[in-house]
């Protein structure tokens, strides 16, 4: 399991725009670099990030080799209803990780 840092508000007013910030530990090896032995290091990147809000995808992003290690993503979501937010990162070598946060909307 990769370490993640997620900043998401625990509560918000209905209609409020919330900033969500996520950071995940991942090498994001491009597949173009040579290792110490001169051989090309195999690609190992996160290919897709998605954020679901009560089951519905509200933000997603495709990631490519030019994205740096430990990718940081920030985006805005409008608070509609109380519930859960889940954050999923998927990538090479079967990498998949999901984290979640709960949100109370008043």
């Amino acid at each position: 399991m990769a370490r993640t840092l997620i900043h998401a508000p625990k509560s918000a007013r209905k209609g409020e725009v919330m900033e969500i910030r996520t950071l995940i530990a991942h090498p994001m090896e491009t597949g173009y670099r040579a290792g110490a032995d001169g051989r090309t290091l195999p690609r190992d990147i996160i290919r897709r990030f998605s954020c679901r809000y009560n089951g519905e995808v509200v933000f997603s992003a495709d990631l490519y080799p030019a994205i740096s290690a430990n990718p940081y993503l920030a985006f805005n979501v409008v608070a509609e209803a109380s519930g859960s937010m889940s954050f999923t990162w998927e990538g090479d070598n079967g990498f998949a990780q999901t984290e979640s946060a709960t949100l109370t909307v008043t």
Partner: protein, 265 residues
């Protein structure tokens, strides 16, 4: 370019305000020369990737190694017990009778008290623990140890810092004391302060301890060693004299040196 040259400190000790040794300027942390965007990134714990290591370090701090000891078994809550500790390393170890840095101190604790193998320096685990301990001193001024035994090592360190070495015949002091604030190969030369280590460097895409910039040139010229500089150091038995004024290595690739020479002359 600013992005690539930026450092994100996890320990982020403030630099003591006093006159810098040779330049006569006030001491300034490398933090001051970063762009406002990178400064904001360092300040925000959700954006600073170094905090991933700090979080790992917290887990390790409470993990039981060896027979029955975790770091917390003796030291308790690091937030209290480690406050200000990193600010006075390197310090004198009376049992080993030598100066030790934070990495060595952690390993001495492991071998003496936890009875487990030392962690390799620069390993992810060691960096995590170091970052966690250093982070407890965040915002405190550097407070060098006052142990009188360190005088000899400090003097040796000063000599090494001022000694011209390597193919390029540069000393650490030449850039970091004489030319801080100048731009070299797109990077601003900082004063040679060691606050804020271990640090996350965007160019490294990872965390590194103080030993890493000292070994490798930091001037954006790739990771080419100045082998002679290293040999001279080894001959001098310099391993423990890094105590005094440690700074980024003066060893640079030749192309960079040409830039430097042009700018000076």
């Amino acid at each position: 370019m600013t992005l690539r040259a930026a450092w994100l400190a996890t320990g982020a000790l403030a630099c003591a305000v006093a006159s810098a040794q040779n330049s006569g300027e006030a001491r300034r942390s490398g933090f001051d020369t970063m762009s406002p965007r990178i400064q904001a990134m360092q300040r925000d714990d959700q954006q600073n990737p170094g905090m991933l290591w700090v979080a790992d370090g917290e887990v390790l701090w409470n993990k039981i190694f060896g027979i029955s000891f975790s770091c917390a078994s003796c030291h308790g809550d690091a937030k209290k017990s480690m406050r200000g500790v990193a600010a006075h390393y390197p310090d004198w170890d009376p049992i080993e009778k030598k100066p030790v840095d934070l990495t060595q101190r952690i390993n001495l604790c492991r071998t003496r008290h936890q009875l487990v193998l030392p962690l390799p320096p620069e390993s992810e685990e060691m960096l995590g623990l170091e970052a966690y301990v250093a982070n407890q001193s965040r915002g405190l001024p550097l407070a060098p140890s006052t142990a009188p035994e360190l005088t000899a090592a400090r003097e040796r360190g000063r000599q090494l810092y001022e000694q011209r070495i390597g193919q390029l015949n540069l000393s650490c002091a030449l850039c970091h004391d004489k030319l801080p604030g100048h731009v070299l190969a797109g990077a601003t030369i900082p004063q040679g302060h060691v606050n804020g280590y271990p640090t996350y460097r965007l160019e490294w895409q990872g965390l590194g301890s103080l030993q890493r910039p000292r070994r490798l040139p930091v001037l954006g010229a790739g990771e080419q060693h100045d082998r002679r500089a290293l040999r001279v150091e080894r001959r001098a038995g310099a391993r423990h004299e890094r105590v005094a004024r440690i700074s980024s290595s003066a060893a640079t690739a030749q192309g960079v040196c040409r830039v430097l020479i042009t700018r000076i002359s």
